[in-house]
Every structure is written in C-alpha cells, then in structure tokens.
Symmetry: C2
Subunit: 339 residues, 2 copies
C-alpha cells in the first residue's frame, strides 16, 4: 500500500529551505514508487522551486501561512504559530492523512509540537532523539541525543526498549545488541541512574550486552547505545568536532607546499572514497521516538542528498511500523516486570 510522508518547509537559509527540500522531494518520488509526498509550506514559494514538476497525484502541496524561526521558543510556537508548516505537517500525521513527517526546523519547537499534537505512546514518559553515527563496524545508533538532560533509570530503560525496536525495524535485525554508555574506572563505574538501568536491562528480554565506553560507540560492539540527552549530545558533538579537526589538519598537511599540493591532487579520489564512510550526509535524519506517530528531524544544514536520506529514514520507519512496535514491546516489558 502506498505510504504518505509530509515534508515541512522550515527555515534552512533563504526561502524556508525550498531550494533544498523541493529538489530532494522531486528526486525521492522519482526513485521511490511506493511513497507519496506532501510538501507543507507557503504554496507560492514551493511552486517557484518545482521547475515544471507536476502537482497532484504523488506530489501534493499543503499550504501553511507561517514558519517557525530557528530561535522561536517552543512555548511561543505552540501558543502563536498554529498555521506553521511544522504544525500543519504534524497535524496531517495526527489525522491519518500521512504516515510520517520530516522537518529540518527548530528541534525544540518540533519536539514540543510533535508531543503536543501526537501525544506520547502509553507508558513512555518522554520522547527521545535517536540517530546513527559512523563506526568502524558500519554505524551505531545512539539515544538520547539531547531531548532529555536529566534522566532516571526508568527513562534510560525506556530509551533502550525504544532504540532496540527502532533499530530492529529499520535495520531488519532480530535482536539488536543494546549497550549502556558508561565510564571506565571500576570503582566509580557509573552514576546511580546508570547502575540501576543496568540491573533493569539485565532482567529484560532485550539483547542487552552491558556497558560500553565512549570510544566503543565509534568502533564496534553495540547496535544501540543508550545514554541521557546531555551525555549523548556531548558525544555526538565531540564526534563532529574531532572529525572537523582531523579534516583541518589533513588539509593543512596537504597544503604545506607545492609538492604536497601535487600529491594531494592525485590523492583526491582516495580521500573522497575515505570521506564517503564518514560523510555526515549519510547519517542525516534523527527520529523523535516515543510519540504516537513518526517524526524525523533533518539536520538544519542539510543539502539535497542529506535531506533525501532523512526522507528515506522516515520511509523505513513507516515500513517498519516503528511506533506500534515500540508500544507493544513496552507493554511486553511491563507484563514481564509485573510477573
């Protein structure tokens, strides 16, 4: 059956991202016959970027008169921007006209709007942000990446269940290996929340493999790494920072003199091949999970390819019926615990 994804046009530079989002959408529907798209935003702007593509059928436009700015506070957005592209796109998911929503806008506002409109799944206290990061083994999924700064062991446990189900669905792995992020010194291993979550996970039906340290996320071992939003965000941002730094020093080494520049030139295809493994565009698309509906957040600085990957991620979540799977797995865990 054909699925439908809404794309919210949000502030991503000029024209509310239309120059990135519209070509990505056009290319996506060309390659994906089973998914229709609804572009949500100012109709006149979207039309300017269609370049003759036909509207109606598999690509529709839903007009929305407002946009959420990157610096709008979530509470203000909820109160005053009821016809924003973000709100309208999520409303379409709520009322069943679409199966998922993709947005590159203000994360806080997107999360608040999604939570307000879609509501949480039963027994889930908070939404979490999950995304994959590159690793030697391919990639690793990590959550939470910044939605929740203070988490108790129940929250960490819920993250583990949600992460496991999402990864199982989108990666087609029967029982993803789930790990808790921790630090190394034996005598002070972990804070109380982490230790308690560890006990709960050991008694769960998840494929829990125990603690991993920060370096393991980028090496191998676990499919899903669970941590609170503060630590997850710092790890993710540290990864970005280190990659930027290494690229900086690599460029500098090749730019030292005429000779190194010449070598740099013939090395280009190799470095290109290397970069494709850690290309952040491949890893674009973070999911807000724990909601009664699928919402994918694209990086605000995404280009066309990266944005297409975010839509692709939404498509996989829809195909895997992620929200429903999470709900039933959480129910199962609760039944286990009460026995």
């Amino acid at each position: 059956m054909t699925k439908r994804i809404t794309i919210s046009l949000d502030a991503m530079g000029g024209d509310f991202g239309a120059e990135v989002v519209v070509p990505a959408a056009l290319n996506f529907i060309k390659n994906e016959p089973d998914v229709d798209l609804i572009l949500v935003g100012r109709e006149e702007i979207i039309k300017q970027h269609l370049k003759g593509a036909e509207i109606g059928g598999r690509l529709r436009i839903q007009h929305a008169s407002e946009e959420v700015a990157m610096d709008d506070s979530p509470s203000k957005v909820l109160r005053t921007k009821k016809d924003s592209s973000m709100r309208v796109a999520i409303n379409l998911v709520k009322e069943g006209s679409a199966d998922a929503c993709v947005s590159a806008g203000n994360t806080g506002a997107l999360m608040a709007t999604a939570r307000f409109v879609l509501k949480m799944l039963p027994h889930i206290d908070r939404p979490a942000i999950i995304a994959s990061v590159p690793s030697i083994a391919g990639h690793t999924w990590m959550l939470d990446l910044g939605a929740n700064v203070d988490c108790n062991s129940d929250h960490l446990f819920q993250f583990a269940v949600m992460g496991s189900e999402l990864v199982s669905a989108v990666e087609n792995i029967e029982a993803p290996r789930v790990a808790l992020l921790n630090i190394g010194h034996e005598e002070i291993k972990g804070n109380e929340q982490v230790k308690m979550a560890h006990e709960k996970l050991e008694n769960s039906s998840l494929n829990y493999i125990g603690y991993v340290e920060g370096d393991s996320v980028y090496k191998e071992g676990a499919d899903v790494v669970v941590t609170d939003g503060f630590v997850g965000n710092v790890s993710l941002k540290s990864c970005e920072g280190v990659a930027t730094m290494i690229t900086h020093y690599l460029k500098r080494a090749f730019n030292r003199n005429f000779f190194t520049k010449m070598i740099g030139f013939i090395t280009l295809p190799i470095l290109k091949n290397f970069r494709c493994f850690i290309d952040p565009r491949r890893y674009n698309g973070a999911s807000l999970i724990g909601l009664r509906g699928i919402v994918v957040k694209s990086h605000g600085g995404a280009d066309q390819l990266a944005f297409e990957n975010a839509i692709q991620f939404a498509k996989k979540e829809v195909a895997g019926d992620v929200s429903r799977r999470i709900a039933s797995r959480v129910e199962e865990q609760l039944n286990m615990a009460s026995k």
Copy 2:
C-alpha cells in the same frame, strides 16, 4: 633550585613498565638539568633496565616491594599494599623529599592513595582529573575526566578555579578562558547543576566565557572546558574512538589496490606530518588536582616518548607551583563570595 620528581613503576605490561619508564627517565634527566628523578619500584628490576647508567646524584632508586595491579580495588590497595611503588612514591611527595609524582598505574588506586596520603587542599571537596586534548586552535584543557560522576554546581565551580590556575601556571596565560560544557537546544539548555555553576562563574573573577558545546572542545574558543567526570570521560573517549575510526577508514582507502597503495606510499610523509598534530603521545599526562601535592597520571599504554611527556608535565606543574596557586585562588573566590 633543583626539583625532584618520583616515578612510580607500575603494571604497564611486563616488568612493571620498567622497559618504558626507565629509558624515559634516563632521557629526561639528560635533557633537563634542573630536575632530579627518583625511580620507585623493585630495585633489581629497575637495575636491569639501567643499561649502565649511573645511580646516585640526579637519578636515584627507592625500593618498593609491592605493585598495584590494574584490577586491584582502591580500598584493597589502601588497606593491604602499603609498600607499593605508588604509595612509596606519593609518600616521598608528602614528606617533602620530592615535588611531584608520576605514575602510569591503576587510576582509581592512584587517586585514592594520593587523596589518603596527601589530603585535599582547603575548601576543595574532590580531586579532579585534568588533561589537554588536541584542537584546531592547538589544544584545550578539560576537567573532570572521570574522577567524579555526580557533581553539583559547587564542584563544577571548584573544577573551574582549579583548571584556570593549572592552565595559567603551565601555559603561562594570565587569565585562561574558562567555559562550561553544555548542550545546544535553547529551551532545555543544561541541567540544573550546569545552570547554577554558570551563575556562580559569571560572578567570579575567572575569565569565564560562558557555555560551549561538545564540538567546540576540539575546535577553538576556550582554554579550559569544565564538566562533570561522566561527561568529560565520554567526550574524551569519544574523541579517541573517532580518531581511531577515521584512521581505520583512511588506511582502508589507501589499501584498496596497488595504485592506491603506491599513492599511499608517497603520501606517508604528509600523513606523518598530519598525525603529529593529533598524536596522543603529545597529550599524555593527566593531572590529579585539588590535592596538597602534584600527582600526574600517564596513560597506561604510554611508550617512552609519551611517558617523557608525562614527566615534562609534572615538571611544569612543579615550576608553576600549581597546588599552592589553586589554594590561594580558591581562598580569594571564597572571600569574594562572602563580601
């Protein structure tokens, strides 16, 4: 005046690290006329690695009959290993026979022993671990790196004062830029501890520049980044993991076929130049601060060059009189706060 540093021989592979530590010590005293060294460990083993170097004068041996194993619990070490190389080396600092101690041993045991023997500085609740990491701007100092998993705002504030004084002393910067590690979303920016520490730092005499995110640590901006031990440890380990991953993919790209291998060969000097900027050996040596004495922890996997850098770091701390400076700056902050 000549300074004296004790070197504890600890488990670092075979022979309690003698094959790494002794050559590092010999090379260090050759290049540093103002510092004498005391090697602490089993005399017979140390002597086997001296290769004819003269004992007495600038290089002395202090026999210790026991070693701390990497998996010994700190409490067990305190109770039962009173003649360990670590304990004897720190005792020499306590009794004034040496100005600092360097060890590559068990971090937890080293911290517990240092705290037990040397005691904390007045008004400092907990020791912290500080080290520098590479960044685009050169390097950034970060603390705490794993000594304290749960920190309140007072602890974070103390870390900031200690970090600022240490960096001022060893880098010769009048007023190092101090930042608090935080995450990006405006609406949930930081947990309570971080927000409260932020207020305290804004009212302090430190050169406090506000919040930075995880990527900034490896880019530029701050001289000292303050965070709790859990987050700091994860950021540091994430950095190691990402560097390992990038090196892996770089090697793989150059090893694809005969042609890429040939290019890899002529690229070697460039990659070598590049690597020297992010060489972990350059950044070896973490200081345990907040104690009435100087204790430097070398990485357990250090080679000779890396271990020499750890001794070098201890020398700089001694020259900068770091413990005394921290004590007087903390006193000053308390006086400011009580006014």
